[in-house]
Amino acid sequence: MIDSRDGGYAPPPNPFVDVTDEALVKLVAGRNEDALDELIRRHAGHVMGLCRRICFDEHDVNALVSDVFWELWGRADKYDGTRSSVRTYLLTIARCRAIDRRRSATARQRLFAAQGGTTNYAQSVAAPVDQPFAQSLQLEKAEHVQKALEQLPAPQQAAIKLAFFHGLTHEEVAQRLQMPLGTIKTRIRTGLIQLRKALAEYQYARDF
């Protein structure tokens, strides 16, 4: 189809516009490649963002993003929508694969050198451009998660940020903070439980 106004190619209407991520994964489990394309379109940016945080080699990042969606194709039938969103599911896979890739590369030193600063994650949350309401809700929630994180005791906060935002494994967090592995596991777990509690209180206050 040629768009006479700009002389370019106008893609056909997207048949998956109103289809949820969870429904798309079910279609992927049924071997629907178009549904996989749509999931790539929706989530590749986030997967790429996380991969870049963990693995600084651009060449590795591009390959990793493909790896993540290829893995989704292979295990879409194992996805449990009651446990996590599709994005979280993909990011969990991406984190794991990126850590593997980083381990096998020589990027470790660059990781520590480049991640010295702090980031306000609430300000940089990306949201679908065509969903302004969802975007505002997401931003609002992001701010509360950020606040809840900041209210955690500093040791828990540091361990959680290193594990989730900087993509370090529990063992790497323990080495970085020079603490026993068991202590780090406990800090992260306790911190996550407190985080959930704080967010539940926020949700309660917002609903009433």
Partner: protein, 246 residues
């Protein structure tokens, strides 16, 4: 594994950080319906969801999205039809049919004229580089496979590269390789378009020729990178890529 151990390792389990066997034990424990551990898991699931929702996404162009979609679809096609394992290279064989014919001709010529070519694999001055990436212009590829191009100072190499997308391995076979001197090591090198060496592996070198299997090679590597051969000198490895062959 008791409940305390399960709960201590739950996050690592949810993040796929545990070894397979340990993860299986965890899964069995959760599948057994342990109420405390399942409740703990639900809490952690929710927290992970909240944390991952904080991660910003990168802006990504339509072209990049399309490239990823094509990469994944290519893998799907390969997995659906194992006979097409070298699908990626098929169009290139046709594209380089003239060059391949030339390569074959040159190979035969080299075999016939070999005895009359003095030290064909030796660089006249330093024997630093026997093989080099072919410049983009002015030379004809002696052997082509996808974007793999081999040439040497004087004699073409008869080599074959097969990419196995399942195992992500690149297999190198060659029946003709340069004669190496004491301590020298021939390497297959994966190089990005900007000249960065991604990885290199030594070739198994015998009278029958050279063999190598390079692991962790992606389809993107195949489409965007080049594979080179180089001689690693025992005394000055850093110089092995320096001098152009004559």
């Amino acid at each position: 594994m008791n409940c305390a151990e399960v709960q201590e390792n739950l996050i690592a389990f949810l993040l796929h950080e545990l070894p397979t066997e340990e993860a299986q034990v965890m899964q069995e424990h959760l599948d057994s319906g342990c109420g405390d551990c399942l409740a703990q898991r639900s809490i952690l699931d929710e927290s992970l969801e909240n944390l991952f929702s904080q991660l910003p996404g990168d802006s990504i162009s339509e072209q990049e999205v399309h490239q990823i979609q094509q990469d994944v679809r290519a893998r799907i096609r390969l997995s659906q039809n194992p006979a097409d394992l070298i699908t990626i290279s098929k169009p290139n064989w046709r594209q380089y049919s003239v060059q391949l014919t030339m390569a074959l001709s040159l190979g035969i010529a080299a075999a016939l004229l070999g005895p009359w070519i003095a030290q064909p694999w030796s660089h006249p001055d330093s024997r630093v580089v026997h093989l080099e990436p072919m410049p983009a212009r002015a030379q004809e590829p002696v052997m082509a496979f996808s974007k793999v191009r081999f040439t040497s100072s004087r004699v073409p190499i008869a080599a074959q590269l097969i990419y196995d997308a399942f195992s992500a391995e690149l297999h190198f076979f060659s029946t003709e390789l340069p004669a190496l001197q004491q301590g020298e090591q021939l390497e297959l090198v994966l190089v990005t378009p900007t000249g960065e060496v991604v990885q290199s592996i030594p070739l198994t070198h015998s009278a029958a020729g050279g063999r190598a299997v390079m692991p962790n090679v992606t389809t993107r590597d195949i489409s965007s990178c080049e594979f080179l051969l180089r001689v690693e000198l025992p005394d000055s490895p850093a110089s092995s890529q320096s001098s152009p062959a004559t």
